[in-house]
């Protein structure tokens, strides 16, 4: 049909979208109603955030995005992209490697065919380590496999532990101490939605010369997504180690989907430490929810001044896209940077806590 009112059709889709926002405001901050909606935002938070948005839009009116951030525009094969670098003191990540390895040697259940009951039985009979098992006819071959694997490289040990104990097990987490600090890549992304829409910011943290560097790839417009993805991919070497919070379910598949969307090469298959599960295992009795901001407040002594609920990120970034006013992006960038930094501190804290706990059980 020629000459149809195409603009009207486009507008109609937009109206349909606005008819159902992706979060719901919980009136009177009623905690009992919070569980009902999928992405709740408390009414008081919603209003204070709205005031913040208005203020930011006023404060940054007339500024360009580049004025707000001390970032750099770089270029690669796909065009320009924009990075914001910052650095700060690195948290100390130190677990006694030989102590950890000796812990593993005492974990008889790593051997195929040995469960908790058999393990207890063996221990009561004086068989304390996997090395001891290697002298028992029944477990000899299985045990030597494990001994061989444990003397192998870090990736192999990580794979063994994930396979035998599950990726969420503290042992798998403690494996992180086997990798050199320079290999760690702390990743957190901000996106326009839960699935199938562009990501707008990739935060990447890494250790360099005793400092902790955060490089943020911020999209000034959606066209920079490809070049940012490629630039990000270049910073993930084949022997990298990823650290995320809920990244197994969200951040990493999301990045993979975006790479596939543009037909780009995929992320290398590298060890990935998702801190959500070990945190939940460790602290679930002490906290009401396991969001990163909750953990920060309670265990890392980090408090954020003006933090933005994740559910509002798409709306605020869209405001920037529509108006060109960089105000709404400011808290998004800060929120993301803090997330990446917290990841590093959280890893350090979890390592210590779990090591101590496992050592005494």
């Amino acid at each position: 049909m020629s000459g149809a009112d195409l603009a009207g059709i486009g507008r109609r889709w937009q109206e349909r979208i606005s008819a159902s926002p992706e979060y719901s405001v919980v009136l009177h901050d009623n905690v009992f109603r919070q569980g009902i909606s999928q992405y709740p935002v408390q009414e008081s938070v919603f209003h204070s955030q709205h005031r913040l948005l208005t203020r930011l839009c006023q404060d940054y009116d007339g500024f360009s995005l580049e004025d707000c951030f001390s970032g750099t525009a770089l270029t690669n094969s796909e065009g320009e992209y924009y990075v914001i670098d910052s650095s700060q003191d690195a948290p100390s990540i130190s677990v006694d490697i030989s102590g950890f390895k000796s812990l593993l040697k005492h974990e008889l259940t790593l051997v195929r065919g040995i469960g908790p009951a058999v393990s207890a039985q063996l221990k009561s009979r004086g068989c304390r380590t996997i090395d001891n098992l290697a002298y028992m006819r029944r477990y000899r071959s299985a045990a030597s496999c494990i001994i061989e694997a444990l003397s192998g490289d870090s990736v192999e040990i990580f794979r063994l532990l994930s396979a035998r104990k599950g990726a969420a097990h503290p042992f798998s987490l403690l494996c992180s101490c086997l990798f050199p600090l320079s290999k760690f890549r702390f990743v957190d992304i901000e996106t326009l939605g839960i699935f199938g829409r562009p990501l707008i910011l990739i935060g990447l943290g890494y250790f360099e010369d005793g400092t902790f560097q955060v490089r943020q790839f911020l999209l000034r417009d959606i066209g920079e997504e490809v070049s940012a993805l490629i630039a990000f991919l270049e910073l993930i070497p084949d022997d990298a180690v990823l650290v995320t919070f809920n990244g197994k379910s969200f951040d990493i598949p999301y990045i993979a989907d975006r790479l596939a969307y543009y037909g780009l090469p995929s992320l290398p298959q590298v060890p990935h430490f998702d801190l959500l599960h070990p945190s939940r295992r460790l602290w679930k009795r002490e906290i009401s929810d396991c969001r990163l901001s909750t953990l920060e407040k309670k265990y890392l002594q980090i408090s954020r001044s003006e933090d933005l609920p994740g559910a509002l990120v798409p709306e605020w970034y869209c405001r920037y896209m529509e108006t060109g006013n960089p105000g709404p992006v400011v808290p998004i960038v800060e929120h993301n940077r803090q997330d990446v930094v917290s990841l590093a501190y959280l890893l350090s804290r979890l390592g210590v806590e779990w090591y101590e706990r496992l050592r005494f059980t």
Partner: protein
Amino acid sequence: MSVSGLLDHLLENPRFSGYISHIQKIPAHPPDFCPVPDVLPARVKEWLLRENITLYSHQGAAIDAITAGDDVILCTPTASGKTLAFILPFLSVREDERDATALAIYPAKALTRDQLKTIRELEQKTGIHLDPAIYDGDTPQHDRPLIRAQAGFVLTNPYELHQILPWHRQWSSFFSRLRYIILDEAHQYRGVFGSSMSLLIRRLLRICEHYGSSPRFFLSSATLANPAEFASRLTGRDMAVIERSGAPTGDRYFILYNPYREMSLPRSVYSESAEILSVLVDSGLQSLCFTGSRRMTELVSLWAKNSLMRRSPEKAKSIAAYRAGYLPIERQELEKKLKEGKMRGLVSTNALELGIDIGSLDAVIMTGYPGTMMSVWQQAGRAGRSVSDAMAILIAMQNPLDQFFMRHPEEFFSRPHEHAIIDIKNPYILSGQLLCASAELPVRPEIDTRWFGIGISGQLEALKDNNLIAPTARGFVYTGRRRASELVSLSQISEVWTVAVRSRIIETLDMRQACREAHPGAVLLHQGERYMVSSWDHENHRIIARQEDPGYYTKVNHQTGITVLERIKSRTIQAGTLVLGRVNVSEWYHGYRRMVDEKTISTESLSLPPITFETVSVWIEFSYAGIQSVSADRDIEGSLHGAEHALIAMMPYHVLCDRWDLGGLSTICSPEADGKPVIFIYDGYEGGIGLSERAYDIYEELCRNARSMVMECRCKDGCPACIYSPKCGNDNQPLDKKGCVALLRALEE
């Protein structure tokens, strides 16, 4: 008793013979076999030999065509061995390329279960592994990754495919090995659903190309008048058409039975169906009776049982009802008993029309013309084993098309099947599908016109202006705030309303259907059950109803207004000018009537806002001379009104559609045509679905059939069998039958 014996019995018995309008004998034809094609893998050949299976000519032709690299559409009757025809070629592909995959898309979930069983059996017997699996809304989350990684033959439905495509990364391995796409029951893809489907298939092909594969197509469909055009519109490919079935049939007798033939002693369609079913079962013929609704299914089976109780009580238990809403296990039990011959008579809704395997029966009864010739032959095809005789009986309702066929058996048996129309230009559907595509891979107008047509650049600009997609160096990227595949529906264009009964959703409607059938106060019919609509929740687009039968039914009153936006083309006809164009329709549903037995018991008002939408319309502008064909003593307004109803009533005769898919308006003085009398007929969906366009092309034929339908009806001033319309917003007032016939005669010249 044999089929022909029963036929004699019916003819001798005055209780029935007076109502038989026509008996058509369709002669038997012998099987047309073909040698086993060489390309089949040795293991398959061995299996065919071992089981003594000879292939029919159409199966051989299909295998040859696919092997030669063609795409195929196979249009042969029910039970002609379609499954084997599409599986065998894939077995050859699979033998050559161990990890080749196939995707089979079925319009309904129930079909996939049935097919999976068949494919598993075949796999076992031939020893060629296909690793078939169903992947749809019922597939448990934890099974999904394994299916994506390992299945060689995935069975799914369009709704699931619509959800799968944005996740193509997870399917990348499957898509890169995809060699073969099967669309079973392809004739189901028409109207809004068909247009969406054709674009969904292009989305799928675009992704396949991205992963470097270019699969062959195998379409199976009921017989159509335009298989080649249909297939090419649906998939964008030119296909080899295989229409000649090599499967044998015995003699078949088709009876046209008209309960309204004796106007002095009309009988009810349903009680007649029950009576005839009981006679058939009593004489030992295994029979199936199709009814339109769940409720009638239950009633007809009950009446037939009662009637048998009088005749031969021991047989009453061998009649049962079969309908949607039964548990799968109950349905399977019935299917099994039917196949084993223990169940002798089954009353079913149209659920059984789709290719579920129940074996073949001796006789089929259809209560009322099922709406399309295609369904007639699909339903009739349920009767007829390869060698023995079979019988089909169509029991006519009192509506224009049914009665027309009773008077014109030659039309019924000689006419080609309907045209299946797919309109790939509907701007609303295209826009939605482009949104979905842009969420899968960036859309590049310069390349992707190949999939979505040349009209897309304007569409993309409009989406961009609304911040739904963003231009990048890689193409347009989806940036909307909700998941695109959630936003866009395959079967509806406008906003979807849901009908909830005790917070259980029973049906979804578009706004127009909702105003018509489910306005506050309406008695809504859903699968034969009655529901009272209590209120509308405008915010959530929800219609609240409760199950209740108040003893009356409702009809809505509406007014229609039309403004012409653009005249696309026009031609001069005897009576004036015929025009095809874009129009803006506004329908205002202002009240409804409560009715019992076609009599109004009260009239209520409604306060609903008018619905306006843009669509395609065909209209006739009468010249002064044209209108003179109506003699001076006749009512011009009533004549126009009658002609409008007659033309709409006959549209489903030519095109696969429902009369509800079209709307009409007639007026003696239209400001849109310099005050001339005009009849508008428009597509009832935003943007149009190609019906008016087709009406423009077949206009003369349409008028001719409408005239003979009205003229031959024996009523005096119009009746539901000719110019009364069940959906008329003005309570079928005014109508003038004689004037209408004169007008239609002038139109067809």
